[in-house]
Structure formats: C-alpha cells, structure tokens
C-alpha cells in the first residue's frame, strides 16, 4: 500500500479519529466528562443539530446550501405551540378550531416541509442561487415567527407535549430516539435508493446528471423539502424540551449545522460526503460545547476554539482530497 492509499483510508476515518482524540483529551482533563449522565446530556443536546444537519447534508451534497433552517425551526415550533396552546379562532363565523397533540405536530411538520418546498421551487424554477433563496427565506420565516408569536414566547404546553423533549423510552431519551430514526432513514435513502444516487450525481456533475436523464428539478425540490421537514422536527424537539416556543429560537443554528456538515467531511462543492460523517461532525461540536463548559473555559475563548476546529477540519479535508 503506498502513501496516498494509506492517506485516503485515514481520511475516511478522520472524523471518528478526531472525535476519539477529543473525548480522550476531555476525559483526562476532567473526571466529570466520562460519566453516563454526561454522555446522555451530550447526546440529547446534539440530537436537534443532528436532525437539522442530516437535511443540510442532503442539500450540500447537491452543491446547495440552506441558510433558513434555524428560522424554519423557529416558525414550525411556534406554529405547533400556538395551535396546541390556543387553537385557531375564526371570528367571522364564531368558529373555534382546537388541535390535538398529534394534530399540532403534523401541522408543524407541514409548515416546515412547505417552507422547504418553497425554497426548492424558487431555486429550481427561477434559477436563484440557493444561498440567496434560503437567505431570503431566513428573513421571511423570522418575520412570520414574530407575527405569529407577536414577539412573546408561547409557554406552558403541558406534560404530554413535554414528553418528546424530556421523556425516556427503553432507557434512552426520546430526543435521541428521534435523531436515531432520522439518521437510519437518511442513511438508507442516501446509500440504497435511486434518489440517493441522484443526489450524489447532481452534486458531482450537474450537466452529466441531466444528460443521463435525472429530473434535476424534482430531486432538488424534494431535497429542500426534506431539509425543511427536518428543521421542523428540530423545532418540535426544541419547543418540547423547553416547554416553550421562543420567538428567537434556532438563532445561528444554520451555522452549527453547516459546521457539522463540513467537519464531517462533506464537500461544500457537492457530490462528496456522508450522513454518518455529519453525525460525527455534530457530535464533535456537541462534545466541544460540553467540554469547554465543563472546563469552565471563558466564553470568549470558546468562540475562538470552535472557529479554529472548523477551520482545521476544512484544511485537513482539502489536503486529503488533493492527495486523492
């Protein structure tokens, strides 16, 4: 085996190695790090970012980007919370529509899916760059969230709804189950289905994909719809965990999510990367967030450290892809 082969083998495991080294270092630096309770904390805290980042990975694989996930998360969560708390009153004919728990969740998910669909439609129909289209959606969804909540949090949503965010099932937090299901489904879709192959093909070489008969528009719209739906899943998770929909929820989540994708080794120019890489990327961010607090590192330094980690991940990725 020559060096370049060896290197590309190493590249495949770079995220796992990084996560392992990080965990090892933190267990040496703090005896509080490697405890079951702290492990569950990290998994619970990472689960929302994992869901969003899975959607982001699919988008990035098509050489796109979705900046609207944080805002879509906020709006979907707020819509679900508002409907659960007060329902809808139609003053014109004295009609009151109440919602069941399942009903609010479904409407929340539909909200996110629709916003994602709209992103995809604008991007494919009008050839708007994804960066611009989803940046516009970020602002639009933030605006609608403020309109819907009038700027105030919607709190006190009841124990049934809170079960999603705080409950346990078979010894594992419900939030972690949700993330696990999302990841398993996404791995199957991206590796075993024609749709998954199309995503990689489009990101790898769009004109070649078009010539081979792939309906590029359809695939892209579906990918952005999935990203929106998964942001909505994240919105329900965050809202349930806090027992409150915050008007400014999900602020900056798009950056955490892009960071997870990049650290996980998915190329921003599309066509190369994996869901599992992103999961590792999200875990690295989660472990880093947790570890820096455990060590009581100053908040100023935390920002610097996180930025450096992202930079390092991208540089390693660049070096490795050149080696290939």
């Amino acid at each position: 085996m020559d060096i370049s082969q060896y290197r590309s083998k190493l590249a495949r495991f770079q995220s796992s190695i990084a996560l392992f080294v990080l965990c090892l270092a933190l267990s040496i630096l703090s005896d509080k790090f490697l405890t079951p309770e702290n492990g569950w904390n990290i998994l619970r805290q990472t689960s929302v970012n994992v869901c969003i980042s899975v959607g982001m990975t699919l988008v990035v694989l098509t050489a796109g980007i979705d900046l609207s996930v944080g805002a879509v998360l906020a709006l979907s969560g707020a819509v679900a919370a508002g409907l659960l708390k007060t329902g809808i009153e139609l003053p014109s004919n004295d009609l009151f529509v109440g919602f069941t728990l399942l009903g609010t969740i479904v409407v929340g998910l539909i909200t996110g899916s629709f916003l994602g669909f709209f992103n995809g439609w604008v991007i494919t129909r009008f050839k708007v760059p994804p960066f611009v289209a989803t940046l516009a959606m970020l602002t639009i969804a933030r605006g609608f969230t403020m309109l819907w909540t009038k700027g105030y949090p919607i709190s006190g949503l009841g124990p049934n709804f809170a079960f999603i965010g705080t409950g346990w099932f078979l010894g594992v937090p419900v939030l972690v189950w949700i993330a696990l299901i999302v990841v398993v489904v996404a791995v199957i879709i991206s590796n075993k289905t024609a749709f998954g192959r199309y995503i990689y093909a489009i990101g790898g070489n769009e004109s070649a994909a078009k010539l081979s008969g792939i309906d590029i528009g359809k695939v892209k719209v579906l990918v952005y719809t999935i990203a929106g739906a998964l942001a909505a899943v994240g919105g329900i998770m965050v809202t349930s965990r806090l027992d409150s929909a915050q008007p400014n929820a999900g602020m900056g989540y798009e950056l955490d999510s892009i960071a997870a994708v990049v650290i996980g080794g998915t190329s921003l120019s599309g066509g190369r990367g994996s869901i599992m890489g992103t999961v590792l990327g999200a875990l690295i961010i989660g472990v880093l967030n947790n570890g820096l607090v455990l060590l009581d590192v100053s908040p100023f330094w935390q920002q610097v450290v996180k930025g450096l980690v992202i930079l390092l991940a991208v540089i390693i990725d660049k070096v490795n892809s050149k080696a290939e």
């Binding site: 403020m146 949090p153 008007p247 060590l295």
Partner: protein
Amino acid sequence: MKQFKLLVLLLILFAGCSGNNQKSDEPKKVAIVVSTLNNPWFVFLAETAAKKAKELGYESKIFDSQNNTALESDHFENALASGYDAILFNPTDAAGSVSNVEKAKKAEIPVFCMDREINSRTAATSQILSDSYSACVELGKLFVDTLQKKGQYVELLGIVSDNNTWNRSKGFHSVVDNFPNLKMVAQQSADFDRNKAMEVMESILQAHPQIDGVFCGNDAMAMGAIQALVAAGKSHVKVFGFDGSEDAVIAVSEGKLAATAMQYPKDIAEKAATFAHEYFGGKRDFPQKLPIAVDVVNKSNIDQFTAYGKKE
C-alpha cells in the same frame, strides 16, 4: 420612454415630499426606534410606546435596530427625512448611539431615550432610564441574603458583546464579590437564550453538582436553568433572573424562581410618549435624566406584580 417613466416617478416622489412638509392639521408622527425586537421585553417597550402615542393622537411607527448601531443610524436618517416630529429612542449602545441623537438634534427633532442611556448630557431632550446596574446591585444583596453569605454559585451571562450583559454582571458582582465564602464555580455565556441556558446548565451540573445559587442575566436564561436543575433533581437551587417577564412572574409565584428584577417598561414607554406630547405642546424644560425605579420581585411581594409591571 424608460427615462420618462423615471422622471414621472421622481416628480411624484417630490410632490409627495413637499405635500408632507406643508401639513399642519395632520397628526404629528412619532418614530419609535428600539435596539431589538428579538426579546419580548423590548417588544413590550415598543408596543406600549406606540399604544400611548396613539392614545395621545399621534401616528407612530416602530423601527428595529437589530442591535446594530449602523442600522440604527439608517433608521434615524430615514425618520428625519420622512418628516417624523419626535423620536422615542431605545439606544443600542451608550457610546455608539450618540452621533445618531446629535443628528436629530441638529434637525431640531426631539429625542427621548428609553431604558438605556447615551453618553451625552446634551444630545437627547430627555432620558428616561432604568438602570440595569443598580437593579443588579439590589438583586445581588438579595442573593447574598438568600444564600446566607456562603455557598457555590454559577453565573449565566447574556450575549458577551452586549453592554447590558456586563452592566448586569458588574452590578451583581459589586455586591457579591465582597463575600469571600460565596464562590463562583462557573461563569458561562448562554446568549440570553432559554435553550442555550438549559444546555450550558446541564453541562455545568456535571462539573459542579453541589451548587446553591444561579444568577442569570435575563429571565429566559433563568427559565432554561430551572429546567435543567429540575431535570437533575436539584430544584432546591436558588435561581435569580432579570426582566420581569410573564414566565418569570409565574415561576416566582410557584416558588421555582427565587427572584427577578422588574424594570417597568410600561412606565418608561408611557413617560417617553407623554414627554413628546408635552414637547409638542410647547414645554421645553425636561429633566436630562429621569430614573425609573427598579423593584426586586420575590415570593414576598409577588402578589403585587404581573408581567412587565404592577397589577392595576
């Protein structure tokens, strides 16, 4: 053809402007410029100011500076250009907002600062202030008493680039740091965000399971901290917030939150609107600084309070 259309458009625009300048019996217009609408406290401040202005017979419009002094500067220029007669102003930054207010002064438009002050004693017509620093001094005193001068505590800071974060933190520490048996075991930022506060608190509890108190820079973070503490079976830990939001007032009455600071945004906003009204009526001698008292809210006096103010 295209140029002709543009010319017509320009003419219409200018006609519109000159029309605006000649009004006399039209209602006066009040611009409300707030630092951010991403925090319910400021939403309430802005809405109350708008409501009061309407009651007094004025048109009003809310401008959101999004915590950005450059955007704030644009809002001032637009407000001055489009003929607003007064500005009710919640500054983004004590130093960075001064030049904006001076711009208005030059145009002879009165500015009334709300809640936060600017570093100038001459630019604004009047400043109706609620002082985060001294409110946190009061909270600090209560904190010391509640913890009986000893124990370990955690501080959750707001956004570290926001001057409110440090005003509150410094006020608190000016009291608490005088008690050597009160030990701060962790000082972390949770960006004024409920979710972030919960996550940070969960992590801190791993490193320091034996804590007695938590001081939070706002109520949203206090609510997040409480959720983490309750989930960890540590509801005995005393949590202190700041703002007097609806969630916090309920939490104090249920005994979950030890205390919060009530800043009376309603009084501040209504005072500012009333000052503008008096200014239009010809009054000119306003106090440069009018402090509005801040009250500490805890279990003993909670029955007098509702969200963002006293019960009426």
